[in-house]
Symmetry: C2
Subunit: 156 residues, 2 copies
């Protein structure tokens, strides 16, 4: 079994997938978690600071995870087909400095990426490593819309 | 119109609401955004690191927003009834140091709170302030499950 550090070159950016934010998806998420006018109604959104219906930032964030889980399952399959075992990832203790850089409007396509930044052992937990990854999303115009640094536990 | 700073005492913690994380809600969110076994299936979750079905961290985070939006609408109504105008909040540019401190298991009740930390003007944007708030959630046993610091724009 290879570790994340052996596997992913530090600083190499990997696209993990794209999501189209339809008006329907935006409104459905917002109804549950962020029912503000500019996430619920195109007409009200037009008169808001945003100027148009846009996704809740929590939706844009969760979209990163949606793409990452799919990407990681594909990686596991791809490596298995080569006779390799993917690094064993555990939960995330959290992340830092999440920035919503631009609104994500109805119809926008966000392409998410991950960049492996660093890995370190945990003195308190033998056999655990903690990896830092940079998580990003950009829209179809190449504009960054979201960015955060996440931590992921790895069992070695 | 009062500002957040005039209105909310620095460091005062305000409970903004509670959410029960049912197995059904946990699985529904996870199917869309975080389809990992320990968020999807009670039996598989039992054999995972978590030991039981638990919510995606992105679900726990979005739950904070869900409670905050409801709380803030109530605040606006409460103040209007007193002839006062609530501070005009805008979007959030992001947050930092989000920590998922404990898993949120099926059946757990998370009580969310907000604490006003500080407010400052934005030299680049006259009439805008940027507020820092501490966002927290604890389970029914009084254990902290989530914590992050958020920024919120205010128009004055």
């Amino acid at each position: 079994m290879m570790t994340m550090e052996e596997f992913y070159a530090t600083g190499r950016r990997t696209v993990i997938g794209s999501l189209t934010f339809t008006a329907e998806d935006i409104v459905r998420f917002a109804r549950d978690f962020d029912p503000q006018p500019f996430h619920l109604d195109a007409e009200e959104a037009r008169h808001s600071l945003f100027g148009g219906l846009c996704a809740s930032g929590w939706h844009t964030s969760a979209g990163w995870m949606q793409c990452f889980v799919r990407f990681w399952k594909d990686e596991q399959r791809r490596l298995a087909a080569e006779g390799l075992q993917a690094p064993r990832l555990g939960p995330s203790p959290g992340f830092r400095d999440l920035k919503w850089l631009k609104p994500v409007y109805a119809g926008d396509i966000v392409t998410y990426a991950v960049t492996f930044l660093e890995s370190r052992t945990l003195a308190s937990r033998p056999g655990w490593r903690i990896n830092t990854i940079l998580c990003e999303g950009e829209n179809q115009h190449g504009e960054a819309v979201i960015r955060f640094e996440s931590k992921v536990i790895e069992f070695v």
